[in-house]
């Protein structure tokens, strides 16, 4: 029915590039996708929105042939097609860039392009791939050096390789699942430019994101999923706004975080001229986190924020300098020690360092405290307590999953993040280290997480918020420290920080002392 409307809208009444009709998909007890219609016309950039677990990824996996739908049909160019594998999808011109890249780091860009599935015209030869890569480079602003090792590329460039993988095989419909979650703002701009030129050349793009601002700026149409169903579909003609999209997604109005003025108390976490090795070595980092304070760490990805977070988490040992918690020096920090000192730690990588994909969710959530009551007594697990703890977190954080026994790895990205936060907040930490805490989570959940941070602040706790989302940093922080090349180059009270000033500092522009 939506497809019918589209056809009417397009003057020459060409069928949409791709149309999905009545798609349903169930995973055991979870109806992930329920009777969804969705179509994309040539030149469309469709924004696909929805809460965590709404079924966006599942729907796209059906389109890309990763999952077989329980019901529904897919048409490409108005003709029904049977897509039962990613090879089938590529054969009809559908490409997908997953959130977790599927690249071989030890191989070159060109080798990665040649790996695997054949396109519509069979196997790809080296020469053809090279030629097309060059063409893609100039057509879509996706320049890539074919001989570089993928492992040496920045995230944004790796993503380009993923996109190029689809394009060299002749994709005309490109699906991107949360492509900007890990990009720097500049890399994201580059991506948008590429997507716009693809659309301008008659391709169709489906763009999944939780960042409403960029969805509004980039897309031509917006579809919103809720609980597996298509809840709304609108043309993005300037009539939509962020609050309205949020309402469509969550079914309620979102309140901006309320941050009452507070006088900070005694220092809780103090770093004094700490240096540490790492991919980006930390150099002379000094930082104080006081009671009732949220300190934001800003910086372009890869300027030592990860190392700083690892340092506070206790997995990166300091080479020199001191770390003090609640006024006491911590001579030999370790994950265990930091945890025992009341530091909740939310790592950036949910599945590689946060939780264990192959274990049940309940066990992933009890992981850091497994040696303590109530999770175990004298080395014997209390399995009921472990499950109850997870069940409580699931209820409190509204985590969408079949229950505490679900395999951790099957949770949707946002729900994993919620589970991680639930775990770390449940035991009432005094200090919370949160690295990219709202990456990939929906606006409703983001609001909830921010409320948790502010509640901790109100209770006299402190939050060290490492984020690449400036909007988030400015909304929550009492102070913003900017990192550049492993140093803290500025530590500004929020009143003195402006987006421009922080942006310049992030880019490494030095400030003259006034």
């Amino acid at each position: 029915m939506s497809a019918g409307r589209d056809v009417a809208m397009i003057p020459d009444a060409r069928p949409p590039l791709v149309a999905m009709r009545g798609i349903s998909k169930r995973f055991g007890p979870v109806q992930a996708v329920a009777d969804v219609d969705l179509s994309v016309a040539a030149g469309d950039i469709l924004g696909l929105l929805g809460e965590n677990g709404a079924g966006k990824t599942s729907l796209m996996n059906v389109l890309f042939g990763t999952y077989a739908a329980d019901a529904g049909t897919i048409e490409v160019d108005g003709r029904p097609v049977a897509i039962r594998s990613s090879a089938d999808a590529l054969a009809v011109g559908i490409g997908m860039v997953h959130q977790h890249f599927e690249l071989v780091p030890r191989h070159t860009v060109l080798e990665n392009l040649l790996v695997g599935r054949a396109g519509p015209d069979g196997r790809l030869t080296r020469a053809a791939a090279l030629e097309r890569l060059a063409r893609i480079g100039c057509d879509y602003h996706l320049e890539l050096d074919p001989d570089r090792l993928v492992g040496d590329l920045a995230i944004g460039e790796q993503q380009r390789v993923e996109i190029a993988k689809s394009l060299v095989r002749g994709a005309r419909i490109l699906v991107l699942d949360e492509p900007t979650a890990t990009l720097t703002p500049r890399e994201a701009e580059g991506l948008f430019r590429a997507l716009r030129s693809m659309a301008a050349r008659g391709m169709g793009v489906i763009f999944i994101s939780h960042k409403l601002g960029e969805v509004l700026a980039l897309t031509s149409r917006i579809a919103v999923m809720r609980h597996g169903r298509m809840a709304a579909e609108r043309a993005n003609d300037g009539s939509l706004s962020k609050p309205e999209l949020a309402r469509l997604m969550c079914g309620r109005d979102l309140a901006p975080p309320e941050k009452p003025a507070m006088a900070p108390g005694a220092p809780l976490l103090v770093l004094d001229r700490v240096s540490a090795r790492g991919r980006v070595p930390l150099r002379d980092v000094s930082l104080a986190l006081r009671e009732g304070e949220i300190v934001g760490i800003a910086g372009v990805s890869g300027n030592g924020q990860r190392e700083l977070a690892d340092l506070v988490a206790g997995i990166l040992p300091p080479a020199s300098g001191t770390i003090a918690v609640a006024g006491r020096a911590v001579p030999d920090p370790s994950p265990r020690r930091m945890q025992a000192l009341g530091i909740g730690r939310v790592p950036e990588d949910r599945l590689t360092t946060g939780m264990i994909g192959a274990m049940p969710l309940s066990e992933s959530m009890a992981l850091p405290w497994i040696d303590e009551p109530p999770f175990s007594h004298h080395g014997v697990l209390d399995r009921r307590a472990i499950r109850a703890f997870a069940a409580a977190g699931i209820a409190r954080f509204d985590i969408r999953t079949s229950g505490p026994d679900a395999r951790t790895g099957t949770l949707s990205g946002g729900n994993l993040q919620k589970a991680l936060l639930a775990r770390e907040l449940a035991r009432g930490p005094r200090i919370l280290l949160a690295a990219q805490p709202t990456r990939g989570i929906d606006v409703g959940a983001t609001e909830f997480v921010h409320a948790q941070f502010l509640a901790l602040r109100r209770a006299g706790g402190a939050v060290l918020l490492v984020s690449e989302d400036l909007e988030e940093l400015f909304a929550l922080s009492d102070r913003i420290a900017v990192m550049y090349a492993g140093r803290i180059v500025a530590d500004l009270p929020i009143g003195e920080a402006s987006v421009e000033r922080v942006g310049l500092l992030m880019a490494g522009v030095e400030e003259r002392a006034a």
Binding site: R14, L17, F27, G28, A42, A68, A69, G72, T73, I74, V76, D77, R79, P80, V81, A82, I83, R84, D88, A91, V92, G93, G119, P120, D121, I136, D139, R169, G170, A171, R172, M198, G202, G314, I315, P335, Q339, P347, L351, T352, T353, G354, I356, G357, A358, M359, E363, L367, P368, I370, D371, S376, G379, V380, L381, S402, D405, A406, R407, T410
Partner: protein
């Protein structure tokens, strides 16, 4: 038209944990039937003897149970190590270490008779554990590949023991390259009512204990966590190296106990052919058990039946006894293949819509100029 697709499962249903090993055993038997045919025997008859000769008499059942004990011990040893991703291919050597310790203790004349059996058991576990600790330390401290070290240590142990048996430890009475027999009081008592030696009961108890440890204790939890994701385990404050060392010690001790059982219950002395490959068979047992300690019991019994039945089958039908080894190898392969279904669900899919005949050219690709063809497998 209909194709099978694999889809990731959220939870693995419990029945599959049982169905997969059974199915892979059946597939193995079907595959190996070709060999039986090639040997000129009747497949049904040969398999009937292979699988059922164990149940002819109480004596045959006892024999099979005795054979299953070392398989169960080494299977448990391997699965504990594998759970921690400590690739212990060295149960064979650890078994031998345990056997040497048990035999040495069992020969000591100055020890009080009642202390012999307990001391043999403890020392065998200890020596097996120490022999496994070595490669584990190399892995944890120096990142030396554990597959290589554990495997090579098997040969060091085997040839070291052979050298001892040829020299200083040779039995002066018989003159054969065997160790002197243990004292009569060092022979394992029989389990009342069953007529099998103590080691069999110990192996069964070990299976229960290992199951309890892996699923109900924090040590087992840590072993599983480290095996699945060492980075996340470390971040959560689990000492990854410590856990690997602990798992290696438990693993080696279990393999060592297999050696104690063979010396105390079967051979009463160390010979260089004491193990006949139990350590390697343990890998197959552990795999067939899906690294589940309770599953190791039927898995060990199955191979004990096959090993014992193979002799009878060979005599009756002329199919070479080595069929047992082939079955062991093929079972490993089918099991590894079958494991796929634990994480993925096969789905029969029909095309979403009847595949139409190739129509007129559709919107050309802006890039490659390819007509959007219909999925080729549709027809």
């Amino acid at each position: 038209m209909i194709r099978v697709r694999l889809e990731r499962r959220e939870v693995t249903p419990a029945w599959l944990q049982v169905a997969i090993p059974i199915a892979s055993v059946l597939v193995t038997l079907v595959l190996c039937a070709a060999l039986v045919r090639a040997a000129g025997a009747d497949v049904i008859e040969a398999y009937r003897i292979l699988l059922l000769s164990t149940f002819r008499s109480g004596y045959d059942v006892q024999d099979t149970l005795v054979k299953a004990a070392p398989l169960l011990f080494t299977g448990l040893a391997v699965l504990v190590a594998f759970r921690a991703k400590f690739w212990n291919i060295g149960a064979e050597g650890q078994l031998m270490a345990g056997a040497v310790a048990a035999c040495f203790v069992g020969e000591r004349t100055f020890l009080p008779a009642v202390s012999l059996v307990p001391l043999m058991i403890v020392s065998a576990a200890l020596f097996g554990a120490l022999w496994a600790l070595l490669p584990a330390l190399l892995k944890v401290r120096l990142k030396v590949d554990d597959v290589v070290t554990t495997l090579l240590l098997n040969f060091i142990m085997l040839y070291g023991v052979t050298a001892l048996l040829e020299g200083p430890w040779r039995d002066p009475k018989s003159g054969y390259p065997n160790a002197p027999s243990v004292r009569i009081e060092a022979e394992f008592p029989l389990v009342p009512g069953l007529g099998v030696h103590l080691g069999v009961a110990l192996a069964l108890a070990a299976a229960l204990l290992v199951w309890w440890m892996m699923s109900r204790t924090t040590l087992g939890f840590r072993i599983r966590a480290v095996g699945h994701n060492p980075a996340a385990a470390a971040y959560a404050g689990i000492g990854v190296g410590r856990v690997i060392l602990t798992a290696a010690l438990v693993s080696g001790a279990l393999a060592g106990l297999a050696g104690a059982g063979e010396v105390g219950g079967v051979r009463f002395q160390v010979t260089s052919d004491l193990s006949s490959g139990y350590g390697y068979a343990g890998i197959v047992v552990a795999t067939l058990a899906e690294l589940n300690p309770l599953g190791a019991v039927p898995a060990a019994l199955f191979f004990a039946i096959v090993f014992n039945g193979a002799g009878t089958m060979a005599r009756a039908t002329g199919v070479p006894i080595y069929l047992a080894d082939v079955i062991q190898g093929v079972a490993l392969v089918t099991m590894v293949a079958g494991r796929l279904f634990a994480t993925y669900r096969p789905r029969l899919v029909r095309p979403l819509a009847p595949a139409p005949a190739p129509g007129p050219e559709a919107t050309p690709s802006p890039l490659a100029g390819r007509g959007g063809g219909v999925a080729a497998e549709g027809r």
